[in-house]
Amino acid sequence: MSAAGVRRVVDRALEWLLITLMSLMVVNVLWQVATRFLLRNPSSFTEEIARYLLVWLGILGGAYAVGKRIHLAIDLLPTKLEGRRKAILELFIEVCIFVFAATVLGFGGSGLVWLTLDLGQTSAALQIPLGFVYMVLPLSGLLTMFYSALHGAEALNRFRAPVEAIDDGGTV
């Protein structure tokens, strides 16, 4: 499969995962309200589920936003530059994202997963191993590395062939 093909598959899978997490969050908290008012028997674990869903949504969504290039950035300099200089700057930005994803999310995140699994830390209400919750960090790290590598390769191509500079829409 081509890089673009792989990317489409990853995009779709990630989108549906995020949509599912978001829907679960809404249903879960509405369930919490309903059990308290209608059944007068508040469920004890919905709050914990909701918090962990948000951690997953936020960290995974961060990778999705890298893929869509919608993270907030000051694009004064990138929009001023043209041709090869612009390509170099874009490459630098993607390298920064890649390095952060590899070190903090990938390395630090998996370190945290091993550490908490090793210590046997579990959540208060559901007794889920906390390592499972933190697993979203290395997962998001891998996805972020995937997207920033693709974007970096695009910038590198533009550096090599600056004449046919393609407008990629830029960041918002």
């Binding site: 709050e47 951690v55 969504g61 907030l72 950035a73 000051i74 070190t103």
Partner: protein
């Protein structure tokens, strides 16, 4: 030693920001590099990762994606049109009527959607062209749009006040929401005064005569949308549910309303959810890395150092509050609101509470202050959207914006030094 670390943090973060690295990553990398100066790589990496995850591990924060989703559902539900019609029926008869209509509609819509950017595009996209049709200057109407769009961030429900509640270590969200009403209305009124001054001078037309029956009719048409505010704020203030539960109820309410109005179909839902996820993800990653930076600053004892330095400079509360406001205004011009609140609340809140300021009051001052930064270059998301919607440029819109900035700063000073404005409503409701 600490100052070297802080210097490295500021230089790395600032340089990456100016080069165009996304803000969330600039904050994260700046934090990481600074930590590596003082500790081994392994604990540093694991700590940053852990702070990012635990920063999001909060039930209160869940209200943010829910309010965003409710806003998305209502945006499609023709709510902007109904609110504009209502505003027009109520205050359209004044000279320069459409300018007031614009400001009032922004206040209502901003409150409901909880997003200044959404208000700028939804209200500005409808009222802006109509103002130009009736002979208003295009840049003037863009300036009205940009400045009034931020009022909804102080008028509840407000996502940024939830972030402040978290950063301040648990100031009541209900109290913060109630505290935001009068200051938000004050900003709206100040903007109306400026707009009115220009409307009279430029001889702008009235938007229509006042007819009581028309006002009542438009009120009932806008009522279901306005009721959302009553359900959410009423529910929180009465202690029926938490802000997060209220936000989930708001999603349910907005969803039912959108389906009843037949403005949203089931097959639109995945797209609406994805749009919500995108906006949420941007905010959440910012919260994650900002939490890491905030942790680093307190690890380096920065809040204590800043507090001591400020109090050594002067013990005059007026001067200290002015200094803090000026610092925040400068920060706001280049930094987004969410990281600014997360990073600067732990630094400044201890100082102002030492001076006897109420944490609820300070939250309103801080958010009101940072709202101004959303309308100023170089980084102002509302400024960018407002210019885009109106089809004008930043350089052209700055001149009509200047008097609006003056009005907003004047309102900020009043809110800073008149605590009653923020604290009266919460006191009435027993917070």
């Amino acid at each position: 030693m600490e100052w070297l670390h802080v210097l490295v943090l500021i230089v790395v973060f600032g340089a990456l920001l100016l080069l165009g690295v996304p803000v969330a990553f600039a904050i994260g990398i700046g934090t990481l590099v600074t930590m590596l100066l003082g500790m081994a790589a392994d604990p540093a990496l694991i700590t940053v990762a852990q702070r990012m995850a635990t920063g999001l591990d909060s039930f209160a924060l869940l209200a943010i994606p829910f309010f965003i989703l409710a806003g998305q559902l209502m945006n499609r539900g023709g709510i902007a049109r109904r609110l504009i019609d209502f505003a027009k029926a109520v205050i359209g008869m004044l000279p320069g009527g459409l300018a007031y209509v614009h400001i009032l509609a922004s206040m209502l819509f901003g409150a409901i959607s909880g997003s200044a950017v959404a208000a700028a595009s939804a209200i500005g996209g409808v009222v802006g062209p109509r103002m130009v049709e009736e002979g208003y200057d295009k840049d003037f109407s863009a300036a009205v749009n940009i400045s009034s769009a931020t009022t909804g961030l102080v008028i509840p429900p407000s996502n940024i006040l939830i972030v402040y509640s978290l950063a301040s270590g648990g100031v009541s969200i209900g109290a913060l929401f109630l505290a935001g009403y009068l200051p938000g209305i004050l900003v709206g009124l100040s903007l109306m005064v400026v707009a009115g001054f220009f409307a009279v001078r430029m001889n702008y037309p009235v938007a229509g005569a006042f007819r009581f029956s028309e006002a009542i009719k438009k009120f009932f048409s806008a009522l279901p949308s306005l009721l959302l505010l009553v359900v959410v704020i009423g529910g929180i203030v009465a202690g029926i549910f938490t802000a997060t539960e209220a936000a989930a109820v708001a999603v349910l309410y907005a969803g039912i309303l959108a389906f009843l109005y037949r403005e949203v179909r089931v097959r639109d839902l995945p797209q609406i959810l994805l749009a919500t996820v995108s906006t949420t993800a941007i905010v959440m990653l910012l919260i994650g890395t900002s939490t890491a930076m905030s942790w680093l600053l307190s690890y380096e004892n920065i809040p204590q150092i800043v507090s001591a330095a400020l109090l050594a400079l002067t013990d005059n509360p007026v001067v200290i509050l002015l200094i803090i406001n000026v610092i925040l205004l400068v920060v706001g011009t280049f930094m987004d609101m969410t990281p600014a609140v997360l990073i600067f609340t732990p630094i400044f809140l201890p100082v102002v509470t030492r001076l006897g300021m109420d944490p609820t009051h300070f939250g309103i001052v801080m958010v009101l202050n940072l709202c101004i930064g959303l309308c100023t270059p170089p980084v102002g998301s509302v400024l960018f959207v407002g210019c885009g919607v109106a089809g004008t440029s930043i350089t052209r819109v700055i001149q009509p914006l200047l008097p609006m900035y003056v009005a907003m700063v004047a309102a900020l000073i009043v809110v800073t030094f008149v605590p009653w404005l923020s604290l009266w409503l919460p006191a009435v409701f027993g917070f």
